[in-house]
């Protein structure tokens, strides 16, 4: 049975009399435990689609169903890792995660259990050592790891990652991608990740959803990535399947991009 079902979803933003159709007729089914990347040029409505799944925006037409329940409002069962980490700067790393844990598990877990759960998640992203630091005192990559820990600590049905590594340097990004694969292997979460990095998409995903250019963007193509897990970045660099997938995505983006310039 399909875990997350996005059917015939459209989104139109209206401001005064002007209205912009951002997304049209999006259909996508995601299975439990799948890692799906959404890739497309900037402005194609990738983030809008993620916000619709998160419930931060409401769909204009169609519907999104997560485990037999329709998505209308945001909630901790669809945790979001925001592009710019969105940690609260007046709270320490521990308190930031605690804010989520206290809200989600406040009644179900005892204080000691909550503490252990926070530390488990900080350990998972290797940030337990900085638990008493404030976000201003740690690096960009560390902030993003804490953001991931906060999202994981909500024990979400689905984890939504909005260009999580976009603002990081290449080395830190590679390190976090590896960690993300480890976490996915260990916990088996269902994840949707938005990216504009072709290598990142091929490396991490089970499927890559390629979006056409906006306005009224839709899904152009869905590519299966039939690579065995665990995947190792170095071995994949010369792997034929990997290169093929990479080429397919590049071709899609390249052709579409040219199409936009001509228009």
């Amino acid at each position: 049975m399909t875990y997350l079902q996005i059917s015939a979803v459209g989104k139109t933003f209206t401001r005064g009399r002007a209205s912009t159709e951002v997304l049209r007729d999006i259909n996508l089914d995601i299975e439990k435990g799948e890692f799906v990347s959404i890739i497309g040029h900037s402005g194609c409505g990738k983030s809008t689609l993620l916000n619709l799944v998160a419930g931060l925006n409401e769909v204009s037409s169609g519907g999104i169903i997560l485990e037999n329940a329709e998505v209308h409002t945001p909630g901790p069962d669809r945790a979001v890792v925001f592009q710019n980490h969105s940690l609260l700067p007046w709270l320490t790393v521990y308190e930031n995660v605690n804010l989520a844990v206290a809200k989600v598990f406040g009644r179900r877990k005892s204080a000691a259990e909550r503490h252990d759960w926070i530390m488990d998640n900080l350990n998972l992203v290797q940030m337990a050592h900085a638990k008493d630091k404030r976000p201003t005192e740690i690096s960009g990559g560390m902030k993003q790891r804490v953001g991931i820990a906060r999202a994981l600590a909500m024990e979400p049905k689905i984890l939504l990652l909005d260009e999580p590594f976009g603002a990081l340097d290449a080395l830190t990004r590679a390190h976090l991608q590896d960690q993300m694969m480890e976490i996915h292997a260990r916990l088996g979460n269902t994840m949707i990740m938005i990216t504009h990095d072709v290598d990142e998409a091929v490396l991490l995903s089970d499927r890559i959803v390629m979006m056409t250019n906006g306005p009224a963007a839709t899904i152009g193509e869905v590519l299966d990535v039939p690579l065995e897990r665990p995947r190792r970045r170095l071995e994949l660099a010369s792997d034929r399947t990997y290169l093929k997938c990479r080429e397919a995505v590049l071709k899609f983006l390249y052709e579409r991009h040219r199409f936009v310039e001509a228009a």
Partner: protein
């Protein structure tokens, strides 16, 4: 506050010097430099104003020492108001008390009026900042009311409360509340959408959102409003007390003027200035302590 801490760590660090590496020896020497830098900054910040003060007093002394001058020179202030300057807390009778005690009475009124203004102002400002329609409706009214001078409120508040004590407090309240409301509203409107999204994903309720996100995120704005507000309340209390009477520092000035004790007025002015300065710095200090870390992202 830093000095005792430095001394302690120096005492503990020194015995380690023999067996431990450079790390421990570097730390105390860096702190010694800190002390030197500290005395340096104190020197830079304290000595110039002292020199300027001495020059001003000297000029004042020279200019107003001529026979027939309208105001007393510093030496006469010292001689005639000696007891006021030296002992701020004497009590010779119900109306003959030291300036420290009078300032204390005024401060109590300010504390009540300003405290109410802070609580109501933050609450109202939060509501206005959250809703675009209350903002549109109330902002023009607030912008007009905030320009009304403090004393203009006094007659109407005397009529409403029929008593000078509550009236003075009301004048403080109504003077101090506008900057608090307006700054809080701006602060709340400027809360980044990301923080709001975090709150929505976590499904924080209204109260949790207010205490966990809104107040800390808007705290720098709130405190700049409070700082303006406390300055205005101190301005207002002195003026209000001149008219309402009682034991406050404002009435003291009016009383001294009526009995031609010019030197007492000058001493009272110094008191008012110093207390106003301390109030301002106090709110600023609380602000920096509370908003520590809330500024950058």
């Amino acid at each position: 506050m830093t000095l005792p801490a430095t001394d302690d760590s120096k005492i503990t660090a020194l015995p380690l010097k023999g067996k431990s590496a450079t790390v421990t020896t570097i730390a105390p020497s860096a702190r010694k430099l800190d002390i030197a830098a500290l005395t340096g900054t104190i020197g830079k910040n304290v000595i110039p104003p002292l020199i300027v003060l001495a020059v001003i007093l000297a000029i004042w002394q020279v200019v107003f020492s001529q026979p027939g001058s309208s105001l007393p020179p510093p030496s006469e202030v010292w001689a005639q108001s000696y007891d006021l300057i030296v002992d701020p807390f004497f009590v010779y009778g119900s109306q003959d008390i030291g300036l420290g005690l009078r300032v204390f009475t005024s401060l109590q009124r300010v504390a009540i009026g300003f405290g109410l203004a802070a609580i109501v102002g933050v609450a109202v400002g939060a509501v206005i900042g959250q809703s675009i329609w209350t903002m549109r409706g109330l902002d023009p009214i607030f912008q007009i009311l905030r320009t009304v001078p403090p004393l203009a409120w006094l007659p109407i508040s005397l009529a409403a409360f029929m008593d000078s004590g509550p009236s003075a407090i009301f004048v403080i309240f109504i003077t101090a509340i506008w900057p608090v409301i307006i700054n809080t509203a701006v602060g709340v409107r400027n809360i980044p959408q990301d923080y709001r999204n975090v709150a929505r994903v976590l499904r924080l309720n209204q109260l949790e959102f207010f205490t966990r996100i809104m107040v800390p995120a808007a705290a720098p704005y709130i405190f700049s409003g409070l700082r303006i507000g406390v300055g205005l309340s101190w301005l207002a209390i002195v003026a209000a007390e001149m008219l309402t009477g009682g034991v406050g520092i404002g009435f003291f000035i009016w009383d001294a003027w009526n009995s031609s004790r010019l030197t007492d007025i000058i001493v009272a002015l110094v008191y008012i200035g110093v207390v106003g300065f301390v109030l301002d710095r106090l709110v600023a200090l609380i602000g920096t302590l509370v908003t520590r870390g809330a500024s950058a992202s």
